[in-house]
Symmetry: C2
Subunit: 250 residues, 2 copies
């Protein structure tokens, strides 16, 4: 039986999503807990692999169980949550078609990058502190220029194993939360490794007046990672949503 | 010269607001930093004394400087913030009349208590996890009954040195933030020690069906701390605002 689980996690306590020998990872914690509950080995496949330090407001992952186990039962979800600590929360587990795939069936992913423009003891480790003089209008002008089906090689991690660097970017805009805080919402069919943090870093150069909004098109055209701005720290980045077609659920 | 400063702090790293020998307190950190900047001893007087673990979204405090120092200068505020660490943020410092008093001139204080009804890795240490079956309508019915000028002895810490336990409660209501989170907003001319956490604890008993909403009036009438519910943990409590009459500013 195949299941999709929806979960959230803080990035800071883990060495990213993907299992790595000798490191605590989100995938590893989930696989261990599921093996304990089901009494058989369980492989967990996520919608994507968040890097070390990146948070997930919503991650989706699939896994299989044997022996007629009902992983969607409230008791199973409670048991799983009790085994995985405070920094990961599994919200729900639902049955899906046997060939549903958390990574390949995802039609859209979105990320948010949180910024605070003043010292905020409650946002520490959750949002990036930026100068209050950042020009968010200019950043939004540049962000709009990225929307569409484009080659994002300039924003991709070097030596990545992706076969193509074309992404269909559907949303990219900064939104004001209150006087001192903002978030950048970005949605696409897929993202390259490190892409959101490189996009935000480049937008911040626009916001600081070091690059004109139109300059971001030249960065894209160069198809060269060195053309883009510095990658921003992971702690303020959140995988925010993953969408699937309704047909995968049973 | 007398100054009012507006600040925020996380409660967890400190042993409360008030200076205590051998303990790190918010008042102590501020007094040390101000003495360093002004090169003379500085006494800081807060609008109130938050207990160990209680957060401040907004605290107001006064202090005096000699030697023509302009404590409202951006450089002074920046210098202060650089000396007090990440868990306290001073937002602004403004000049006030020489007899203005952060505690005695405050006309209203408000607190918030944050609750989350599901496991949330990002709310840990910032909001209290509660059962999703809590009846917030019943809690609000009980909360409304508290509003007015009343004797809050039942919600006061025993052996407190307060001369009177009469408070003029002006607001008391739970507000929904989203599907899974709520906050309780409570405002009064003054609060007794531990009062908000005892009020919230008693409301939670109403929300769990252990007490009828009207039962809270019987608790008030008894004027006995043992009649109220258990005090709720400090980590989810925030001093939210302190109001002053405009005449104190110069």
């Amino acid at each position: 039986m195949r299941w999709f689980m929806t979960l959230a996690y803080r990035g800071a306590p883990y060495h990213g999503w993907q299992v790595q020998p000798g490191q605590e990872t989100v995938q590893g914690v989930l696989e261990d807990a599921l093996a304990t509950l089901t009494r058989h080995p369980v492989a967990v496949t996520g919608a994507g692999r968040t890097d070390a330090g990146v948070n997930a407001h919503t991650m989706v992952a699939h896994f299989d169980t044997d022996n007629g186990i009902d992983a969607s039962a409230p008791g199973f979800v409670r048991g799983l949550n009790s085994l995985i600590g405070y920094d990961i929360a599994v919200y729900s587990i639902v049955p899906v078609r046997p060939d549903a795939h958390a990574r390949f069936d995802a039609t859209e992913r979105s990320y948010r990058y949180y910024a605070t423009t003043r010292k905020n003891p409650f946002a520490r480790g959750l949002a990036r502190r930026c100068s209050p003089s950042l020009d968010f209008d200019a950043m939004n002008e540049a962000a709009r220029l990225l929307i569409g089906r484009r080659d994002f090689t300039s924003f991709a991690k070097l030596h990545s194993d992706a076969k193509t660097n074309i992404c269909d970017l559907r949303r990219a805009a900064w939104h004001r939360v209150d006087d001192d805080s903002w978030y950048f919402d970005i949605a696409a069919d897929r993202f390259l490794r490190n892409m959101v943090r490189a996009v935000v870093g480049t937008l911040v150069e626009v916001g600081r007046g070091k690059m004109s909004p139109g300059g971001i098109l030249e960065v894209l055209d160069k198809a060269d990672r060195c053309a883009a701005g510095t990658s921003m720290p992971a702690e303020a980045l959140y995988l925010w949503s993953v969408d699937y077609p309704g047909e995968i659920y049973i």
